[in-house]
């Protein structure tokens, strides 16, 4: 039972680590990295869903009987792109924040804004 869902356990731990970084760390770049981990864990989750025991990559061929499920792969391809788009935009904002505030630490930004 435990082993059956081993992949999913990993996913949960990865998600928690990612989320923890986002919330607990004040550095904005670190937050983006956390966001990446969080998103990737979801990718791992979807791809694990798509795996069929004994199956092979969904590229049709006469010699293969069982394929893994292609649909999660498609969805995750899209999601990866969405993820990188978010990362790029987030980092661009980080750069602008650094230029405007001189800092990329959350608590310092808070202090500057409250002045």
């Amino acid at each position: 039972m435990i082993l059956d869902l081993f992949n999913y356990w990993i996913v949960v731990i990865l998600m928690m680590v990612g989320l923890f970084i986002i919330v607990a760390r004040g550095n904005l770049v670190k937050k983006i990295i956390g966001l990446n981990i969080f998103q990737t864990s979801v990718f791992v989750f979807y791809i694990s869903v798509g795996k069929v025991q004994g199956g092979s990559a969904p590229i049709l061929s006469d010699s293969i009987e069982v394929y893994s499920n292609p649909l999660p792969h498609v969805l995750i391809l899209t999601a990866i792109v969405v993820g990188v788009a978010t990362t790029a935009l987030g980092l661009a904002l980080v750069i602008r924040i650094k230029e405007a505030y001189g800092s990329v630490e959350e608590d310092e930004l808070q202090v500057i804004d409250n002045q």
């Binding site: 731990i13 990737t40 990559a57 969405v82 980092l91």
Partner: protein, 324 residues
């Protein structure tokens, strides 16, 4: 492996190592995807998770500094939130079908249709490409729009007000590699094959893993290598920003135009069967053209992203070249 890297990322305070670890994390997850039969996804994740994202992060670090402050913001609040989410996730997993079992509901219903019918309906071996570019082509149009949006955003944020240092000081973001002959020669030799490989990936997506997105990234990486070796200005002389911007828009439009042509031919949006009388050929044509649209937009946007980020590095003579 994934876990170890992730925890290490959470642990380290040095952002440079965090980014490096993130890159390794991307690579490890890509190999995991291969093990899970998701070759297309692995290809993309390797390009994105171990390629573009860390690269952009490094360039960002170059500007914002690689040291993280030591203050914890709200670790307890974080722990509580994380714990709640974790418990929820675990609850959700109780009733999941066992990993890999072929009779899970996810593998019934829609998915078998793709596996069994796509040969007859689309006629290309790579089922992932069939689903991506035909059955769910509209998602992919959305995906291209997302990447286009990111390009617009980064340009709006980084290009706009002040590439002052670029204007005032020509030959600024010059690479220190310039004096080194061997990398330059090796680079020059490498760039054309990378581009060729990109084209191969672009048009081979129907048969094996690959397609517009991956090809676009690879093509852009060739240009990125060029920037690293010869400096940003030299690269910008070869490919100008306004052209890239124009082409990025064209890629998205090309994709949309295929859909509109289908509309005008009396079929539904993105119904390629309207393009040619023979439906297999029509599907081929449709997929080929939209993949081209994807490739063009992705390549241009990735280059633009890179240019925008690197162009923002304030030039200080005593600084070494970028970390990447």
């Amino acid at each position: 492996m994934l876990m170890v890297t992730a925890v290490a990322i959470a642990w380290t305070r040095h952002l440079f190592s965090a980014v490096m670890l993130a890159s390794i994390y991307g690579l490890v997850s890509a190999s995991f995807f291969v093990a899970m039969d998701a070759v297309d996804v692995a290809f993309t994740e390797a390009a994105v998770g171990a390629g573009i994202s860390p690269l952009l992060m490094l360039v960002t670090l170059r500007m914002v500094g690689a040291k993280e402050a030591t203050s914890h913001n709200h670790p307890y609040a974080a722990l509580i939130i994380v714990a709640v989410v974790g418990v929820l996730l675990l609850l959700g997993e109780q009733d999941l079908p066992a990993f890999g079992s072929a009779d899970a509901p996810a593998h019934g219903h829609v998915a078998p249709h793709y596996l069994q019918e796509s040969a007859a309906e689309i006629g290309i071996p790579n089922v992932v490409t069939s689903v991506l570019a035909s059955y769910r082509a509209f998602d992919t149009l959305g995906e291209v729009a997302v990447i286009f949006t990111a390009g617009i955003g980064v340009m709006a944020l980084l290009f706009s007000d002040t590439p002052v240092h670029l204007r005032n000081l020509p030959n600024t973001s010059r690479s220190t590699m310039e004096d080194q002959v061997i990398p330059r020669v090796v680079g020059k030799i490498l760039i054309p094959p990378i581009m060729l490989f990109a084209l191969y990936v672009q048009f081979h997506g129907e048969y094996g893993p690959g397609g517009g997105f991956q090809a676009g990234v690879i093509f852009a990486s060739a240009v990125i290598v060029y920037v690293m070796l010869f400096g940003l200005d030299a690269a910008m002389q070869v490919v100008s920003v306004s052209w890239l911007r124009f082409l990025a828009a064209c890629g998205l439009l090309l994709y949309g135009a295929v859909g509109v042509v289908c509309l005008l031919a009396g079929k539904n949006f993105l119904d390629y069967n309207a393009l040619l009388p023979d439906h297999i050929a029509a599907q081929h044509l449709g997929i080929l053209v939209i993949e081209l649209g994807v490739g063009v937009t992705v390549a241009c946007v990735v280059m633009l992203l890179f240019f925008a980020f690197v162009g923002r590095i304030p030039h200080l003579p005593d600084h070494e070249a970028r970390d990447g």
